[in-house]
């Protein structure tokens, strides 16, 4: 054989081998798909609940007597805030680790499946309680409203399930590290592991609340509950929760979007540093949800406000990185002028367009977040529908659209089908509908919130109050926006069914961008989990020890349970 033919043979072999390596193993894919399908069932049912809510608040719909508004609201919050997010994230992360660190071992995959079944059983239990109106306490389950203990246990199981599947992902990453000593770790797998660490540390707060406070209390083993402590434990978890939602979207923005547009990862080191900063800034900030509460010292509220704001740094790094990637690629394709690169982006590609709309939504979302976290400004908007408008831009647009845009190619990648041209166009339609509907709904929510309209509230004229009459026109606008969003959800559901079960067989890519050639090696310190873990725990101990001692030592008589629905 001549050298030339030998090379050709080798290159053919390596191409097909490479192709094979770039596919997620079918067995891992099944686990990922199981999670993702449940996430989309949650999208549809949660979307129906959302539609009912906006119609009720617009004064155009009265719920039948067997449904209570707050039951519907609990369905919406639990399904979209906890189920869609946790299930999609576990599915996506499983696929992401399998794709970038390699196929799971049988043992790892079994642990992943055990997690899936624990989470699913928990979900069914919690859902049964909500549907029988035993748990209309919203997903924040503020004591002393007391739900059936099965509801709390069910949600705890959802979290425990995610711990197992997350552990399987970490084990696969550790295995990669052992097999590739001294090498820089695969960026996407690294990010998954950071997010799982964040999740473990954050969920400890809610696990303690549920296991040691709410379950014994709702079972009648103890009579009273320390309300402020339970809320503080909830918010220890509650803000990190939103970063747990956000980081998988960032994973997609940092590692997948650059490949889709034909570019490279802007900087492996800075991307990893961003994630480590999120890790240490995720938990010791929860008290910013409690500014207007009694019993917490103002100094510690302010310290946590400052810690909250330092998330600006990794956010600015991310924004820079995204736009640098876009601009570099645009210029590579011959774009001229300051903004010429903008035209060169693949606007027809739903894999890019949906996450991009999400990124745009994140700009006003972040700006609103600054208002919310600002110690004093918070008083104007706390518990008004402004806050609802805010997180519909962040989690329900930036995060959700990124997940949707990813699901439409990830599902066919995992089950051996393809995202067809027509399905891609439909996905773009859904993204645009989402953008229109959300602009209307979220703007109306922000304005009504500034005028004082409360969140988590049924339709009311407040005894004919002039202010409430003023809110009503914005509530009608919310219903218009919400209805458009619901149409988008129907399109999205249809697309998931299509790419899941009907799309033509084929090989859909799982795009992963490479690091730019000539990039410096990532410093080992950035990847040192022990180092960042110690910093993380130290900051949490600093931020929470004194407030929690204070709350426990000054605690008044605890509260008995109430069932007021």
């Amino acid at each position: 054989m001549t050298t030339a033919t030998k090379e050709t043979v080798q290159s053919t072999v390596s191409t097909s081998l490479k192709k094979q390596l770039e596919m997620v193993d079918r067995r891992d894919g099944k686990l990922a798909l199981a999670y993702i399908y449940i996430a989309f069932i949650a999208v549809l049912l949660g979307g129906i609940a959302g539609l009912l809510q906006v119609l009720v608040r617009a004064g155009t719909l009265q719920l039948p007597s067997f449904l209570n508004y707050y039951q519907v609201l609990t369905v919406h919050g639990v399904l979209l805030g906890l189920v869609l997010t946790t299930f999609f994230i576990m599915g996506f992360q499983t696929a992401a680790v399998s794709r970038t660190s390699g196929t799971f071992t049988n043992k790892q995959r079994t642990i992943g499946w055990i997690g899936f079944w624990i989470a699913t059983i928990g979900l069914v239990a919690a859902a049964a309680m909500i549907l029988t109106n035993e748990a209309s306490v919203l997903y924040t389950f503020y004591a002393p409203l007391q739900a059936h203990w099965v509801f709390y246990l069910g949600l705890a199981l959802v979290i425990v399930g995610s711990w197992f599947t997350g552990l399987a992902q970490i084990m696969r990453f550790v295995q990669w590290k052992k097999e590739h000593k001294g090498q820089s770790t695969p960026l996407l797998s690294f990010m998954v592991v950071v997010n799982n660490f964040l999740w473990y540390v954050a969920t400890l707060g809610v696990a303690i609340e549920v296991l040691f406070q709410l379950i014994p209390w709702s079972m009648g083993l103890v009579e009273r509950v320390d309300v402020l402590l339970s809320r503080t434990l909830f918010w220890y978890f509650g803000h990190a929760l939103v970063y747990f939602w956000l980081l998988p979207a960032y994973m997609i923005w940092y590692t997948i979007i650059p490949k889709i547009i034909g570019g490279k990862v802007f900087s492996d080191a800075l991307a990893k540093l961003t994630f480590m900063l999120f890790l240490i800034l995720s938990v010791p900030v929860g008290i910013h949800h409690q500014y207007t509460e009694p019993g917490i010292d103002p100094l510690w509220k302010f310290i946590q406000a400052v810690l909250t704001f330092f998330v600006v740094v990794p956010s600015l790094m991310t924004a820079f990185s995204m736009f640098a990637t876009f601009e570099l690629r645009g210029r590579e394709l011959g774009a001229k002028g300051v903004f010429g690169w903008f035209k060169k982006l693949p606007w027809n590609d739903s894999r890019f367009l949906l996450p991009f709309i999400g990124m745009v939504a994140f700009i006003p979302g972040g700006a609103g977040g600054i208002v919310n976290a600002s110690y004093q400004m918070n008083e104007l908007i706390h518990n008004t529908i402004w806050v609802t408008g805010h997180f519909h831009l962040t989690v329900a647009s930036a995060v959700a659209l990124t997940f949707f845009g990813t699901a439409f190619w990830l599902i066919p990648h995992l089950n051996g089908r393809t995202l067809t041209k027509r399905a891609n166009s439909m996905a773009n339609c859904a993204g645009i509908l989402w953008a229109i509907g959300m602009t209307i709904m979220s703007s109306a929510m922000h304005i009504a919130g500034l005028l004082g309209a409360p969140r988590r509230s049924d339709y009311s004229t407040y005894g004919g109050s002039e202010q409430a009459a003023e809110w009503l026109s914005y509530q009608i606008a919310q219903a218009v926006g919400g209805s458009i969003l619901f149409i988008a959800i129907l399109v999205i559901t249809g697309l998931v069914i299509y790419v899941g079960f009907f799309a033509p067989k084929g090989e859909e890519d799982f795009p992963i961008a490479e690091v730019a050639p000539g990039a410096a090696k990532t410093p080992a310190a950035i990847e040192n989990f022990k180092l960042w873990g110690v910093i993380m725990i130290a900051v949490i101990i600093f931020a929470y020890t004194i407030p929690i001692i204070d709350i426990i030592s000054n605690s008044p008589l605890g509260a008995k349970g109430f069932r007021l629905w």
Binding site: P294, A305, T384
Partner: protein, 164 residues
């Protein structure tokens, strides 16, 4: 680790702005006294009606204090006592409120008078009511099916205006 020149500028500018912003917040809070509710007053929530000042809810003119009026308000599922409050414009008011059962909100709509009311705790806010008008006080924290039936009215009136 290599950081692009523009990225350095961007981060220095962004972080600098952030620090200035935080200093403004801090000075306003600790020098200007613009803290949100941070009362540490605790109470037996089952005996609120027997404990002063909640045994006498309403508006009380006070002398010799830093404020002119004390508004004492009790929340319970699903009502506030009293249902209506009237205060002369320009008065400095100390709002004192608590709950007899679950968590409620106390929000004077469209203003920054906004506090959580939690069983066992008293919430407080001192502020000057400087704009004439009729403000709806709403419960902005979910407390049960009657949540949106919970409201009261704060009337800020001009005592020299006889047109009403």
């Amino acid at each position: 680790m290599h950081i692009h020149k523009y990225e350095k500028w961007w981060l220095i500018f962004g972080t600098g702005t952030l620090i200035v912003f935080l200093i403004v917040l801090g000075v306003s809070a600790f020098h200007g006294g613009t803290h949100p509710n941070n009362s540490k007053w605790t109470i037996n929530y089952e005996k609120v009606d027997e404990i002063a000042p909640f045994n006498n809810p309403g508006i009380h003119k006070v002398e010799g204090k830093d404020w002119d009026y004390e508004v004492v308000l009790v929340a319970q599922a699903f009502a506030y006592t009293p249902m209506e409050l009237e205060i002369p414009v320009g008065s400095k008011v100390r709002f004192i409120a608590t709950t007899k059962d679950v968590i409620h909100g106390f929000e004077v709509a469209g203003t920054n008078i906004n506090m959580m009311l939690e069983p066992g705790y008293v919430s407080e806010k001192i502020t000057t009511v400087d704009k004439v008008g009729e403000y709806t006080i709403v419960c902005n924290e979910y407390c049960g099916t009657g949540h949106t039936l919970m409201y009261s009215t704060l009337k800020v009136v001009d005592p020299n205006d006889n047109s009403n």
